[in-house]
Homo-oligomer: 420 residues x 2
C-alpha cells in the first residue's frame, strides 16, 4: 500500500469527458490498494478567461479580488472530479483551499504556502475516501482566498504530498514524461526513467516546460518524489516504467541518491529567440555590473546568460548578456539612457539560440565543456558565448544551427534511442 497524491493539469480536466478519463487513473490506484488525494487545476482556458475579465474590469486592480475571481476555476473541477469518482463507486469529496485549510501568506496573486493542516485529508484517506483538493489556491491569515500564481497547482500538489507524507506525487499532464531533448527536433529523444531534482530544475528553466520550477524546488526541499506521466495513457494498461520494468510509467523526478547510474549528460535543451548585447570597454569599477543589470531590472527586462571577461589591463572589460529578442531594442535604449555606466560602445544581435547540456554526472567528470565544444566544432558551429554551472554547460550559437546542434549533442552523449 502506498499513499499517492495525483495531480491533474488543465488539459487533463478540460471537460467532463477528460475528467472521467483522469478519474480512471485514480480508480486504478484505489483498486491497487493505495490511498489517494487528488489535486486539480482549472479546465484549460478557464483561468485565462477569468484573468481576462479581471483585466477588462480594470487594467490595475486589487489582487485580492483577482484571487477571488480566478480561484473559482479549480472549485469547478474539484467538484466535478468528486462527482465523477463517486459515480465510479469511489467515495470522494472536494475541498477548496480554505476548507483543507491550505494556509498561505497574504501575497495575493503569487502567494506562498505557509502550512497545510493535513488532519482532515489524513483522516479521510485512512477511511478510504479520496479528497479532491483545488490546486493553485489557499487562504491568507485574513481569511481571504489567495492564488499561488501561474502553474501553482503543481506546487499545491507537492505541498499536499509533503503534508500527508505521500510516497510519491504523480503529476498527470499532456506529455508522458521528461525527455532527453525535444522529440520534435530529435525523433530519437528518449523518455527518461529517472532524473534528479537538480537536473530537472536546470531542464525546466531552460525550456523543457513540464513542471513549474517552484514545484520542483519545493519537492527537492521536502523530498517529495515526483512522477511526470500522461493522463491520456490507457488507465487499465499494465503499469510499465520507461526502462521496461514493471513500475510507474513516466519519469520519476527524485533525489540524486536514488539514481544509480549517473549520466554525465542527461539531457540537451534549447531556447530560441535570444538576443545578445555586448558593452565594449566598460570601465571596470566596483558596482558596474550592478549598475547595468539594475537598470535593466528596473525596466523588468529579464536577462538570461551573463558573461564578463577579465579585463586585459584591469581597467576596462567587455560585458555580454542575453535577453529575449523582443526586449532587445528596449534593453539597448535603457542602457543608452543610463547615466552611471561608462563604456565605449554597444553591439549586439538578435536571433540566437542557447543550447545546454545538463547532467549531475558533470560534477565528477572533467572535460564536458571541452567535449561539447568539440562536438559542435565537428559540425562547424561557431560558439558565441559560454556559461557553465555545476551540472550544466550552455552555449549561445546562431539560431540557424540550433536543431543541428541539439541533434549532434544528443547523439554525441549517447542519448539516442536505439529502436527508431
Amino acid at each position: 500500500m502506498a499513499r499517492i497524491v495525483m495531480k491533474f493539469g488543465g488539459t487533463s480536466v478540460a471537460d467532463v469527458k477528460r475528467i472521467r478519463q483522469a478519474a480512471l487513473h485514480v480508480k486504478r490506484e484505489i483498486e491497487a490498494g493505495n490511498q489517494v488525494s487528488v489535486v486539480v487545476s482549472a479546465m484549460s482556458g478557464k483561468t485565462n478567461e477569468l484573468v481576462g475579465w479581471t483585466r477588462e474590469a480594470a487594467p490595475v486592480h486589487d489582487a485580492r479580488e483577482y484571487d477571488a475571481v480566478v480561484a473559482s476555476g479549480e472549485q469547478v473541477t474539484a467538484g466535478l472530479m468528486a462527482i465523477v469518482l463517486s459515480e465510479m463507486g469511489i467515495p470522494a469529496r472536494s475541498y477548496a483551499g480554505w476548507q483543507v485549510p491550505i494556509h498561505t501568506d497574504d501575497a495575493h496573486g503569487s502567494a506562498r504556502i505557509t502550512g497545510i493542516d493535513a488532519t482532515e485529508l489524513d483522516k479521510r484517506m485512512n477511511e478510504g475516501w479520496v479528497p479532491v483538493v483545488t490546486g493553485f489556491q489557499g487562504v491568507a491569515p485574513s481569511g481571504r482566498v489567495t492564488t499561488l500564481g501561474r502553474g501553482g497547482s503543481d506546487t499545491s500538489a507537492v505541498a499536499v504530498a509533503a503534508a500527508v507524507k505521500a510516497d510519491r506525487c504523480d503529476i498527470y499532464t499532456d506529455v508522458d514524461g521528461v525527455y532527453t531533448t525535444d522529440p520534435r527536433i530529435v525523433p530519437r529523444a528518449r523518455r527518461m526513467n529517472k532524473i534528479s531534482f537538480e537536473e530537472m530544475l536546470e531542464m525546466a528553466s531552460l525550456g523543457a516546460k513540464v513542471l513549474m520550477i517552484r514545484s520542483v524546488e519545493l519537492a527537492m526541499a521536502q523530498k517529495v518524489r515526483l512522477v511526470v506521466r500522461s493522463t491520456f495513457d490507457d488507465p487499465n494498461a499494465p503499469q510499465i516504467a520507461p526502462d521496461g520494468t514493471p513500475g510507474v510509467p513516466g519519469t520519476l523526478v527524485c533525489d540524486e541518491e536514488e539514481i544509480m547510474e549517473k549520466q554525465i549528460v542527461s539531457g540537451v535543451t534549447m531556447a530560441r529567440g535570444e538576443a545578445k548585447i555586448t558593452l565594449r570597454d566598460v570601465r571596470d569599477r566596483p558596482g558596474v555590473a550592478a549598475a547595468i543589470f539594475g537598470a535593466l531590472a528596473d525596466e523588468s527586462i529579464i536577462v538570461d546568460m551573463i558573461v564578463q571577461n577579465v579585463a586585459d589591463d584591469g581597467s576596462v572589460t567587455d560585458i555580454t548578456f542575453t535577453v529575449p529578442d523582443g526586449e532587445y531594442d528596449k534593453a539597448i535604449r535603457t542602457l543608452q539612457a543610463a547615466q552611471n555606466i561608462e563604456y565605449a560602445k554597444i553591439v549586439g544581435s538578435k536571433g540566437n539560440a542557447k543550447i545546454s547540456v545538463v547532467g549531475v554526472g558533470m560534477r565528477s567528470h572533467a572535460g564536458v565543456a571541452a567535449s561539447m565544444f568539440k562536438a559542435l566544432a565537428d559540425k562547424s558551429i561557431n560558439i558565441q558565448l559560454i556559461t557553465t554551472s555545476e551540472i550544466k554547460t550552455s552555449v549561445l550559437i546562431d539560431d540557424e544551427y540550433a536543431e543541428l546542434a541539439v541533434r549532434a549533442l544528443h547523439t554525441y552523449y549517447g542519448l539516442d534511442r536505439q529502436d527508431v
Copy 2:
C-alpha cells in the same frame, strides 16, 4: 442618508460591460450619501453551464458537490464588481457567502438561510465601503458551501437587507417594474407605483415572473421594502417614480399599510397551457381528495386549480383540477392506475388558459367575481372553472380567448394607461 441593498441579476452582470453599467447605479447611490451593500448573481448562462457539467459528470450526484461547483459563478461576478467599483473610486470588496458568513441549513441545492452575521457588512458600510456579496449561496454548519436553489439571489438580497436593517432592497433586473398585466398582450399595461407583498405573491405565482416567490415571502415576513427596477435605465437620469414624482423608478413592493389607495383589482395575469381533468361521480368519502392528489404528488405532478362541487345526494361528487398540458397524459394514467379511488369516469381537455385578477381591495369589496364574469360574458367568453381566494379570482377559459380576456378585464377594471 439611506441604507440600501442593491441586487443585480444574471442579465445585469452578463459581462464586464454590463457590470460597469450596474456599478454606475451603485455610484449614484453612494454619491447621494447612501450606504450600499451589493448582492450579485452569476453571469447569465453561467449557472446553467455549471449545472450542465454536474449532470454530465453523473445524472445523480452528491448535492454538496453540485453546490461546490455551482457556487463558483457568483464568486466571479462579486470579484469583478468589486474591481469595477474600486476603479470608479468607490472602496469595495467581495464576500463569498462563507466569508460574510451567511449561515444556512444543510439542505444542499435548496438550502434555507438560517442567519446572517451582519457585523462585518455593518462595519464596512459605516466606514464607507461597499461590500459585494455573492447571492444564491451560504455555508452549512459542516463548513461546506450551500446554494439556495434557483432564483436564490433575490432571497440572499432580502436576507442581507433584513440583517443590515436596510431601508430598502433594490432588485435590478431586465424589466423596469411590475406591470398591471403583460405589456406584450396589452400595450396599455401600466407600470405600478406600488404593490403589496400579498398581491406580488399572487402575481408572481401566476406568471408575472419578476421576483422569486421565496424572496417576496421573506421580504413580507421581515418587512423589507423591495424595489423592482431596470439596470438598463440611464444611471445618471433624474430618479422619478412611475407616478411622476421624484423618487425611485420602478415598482415598490411593500406592506399594504404603505399603500393609500387600494385598488380593487391591481393586475391581471394569465397562465397558458393548462389541462383540465374531471373525475365524475367520485365516491365522496373522507380522504378521497387526499388519495387523488397524493397519487399525483407521488408522481411529482404539480396541480394548480382544484374545484370540488357539493355532492347532489351526498354520495358522489365531481372533482376537477388543472395540471400543465405536458403532464396531462401522465396524470390520467396515474389516476387510472390508482387502486383506492372510486369514480365513474375521467374526462378532460388540454389547451386552456387561467386568467386571474388580483387586488387587496377585493377584501373589502363584494362582487368582484360577479363583475369579472360579466366582463367576460360581454365578450362571449365561456368560463369553465372558477376559483377564488381572498385577494384573487381566477377562471379557466379556452386558450383561444386568453388575450381577449386579459385585455377586456384590464380595461374593465380601469387599469389602462390613458396616454397611449
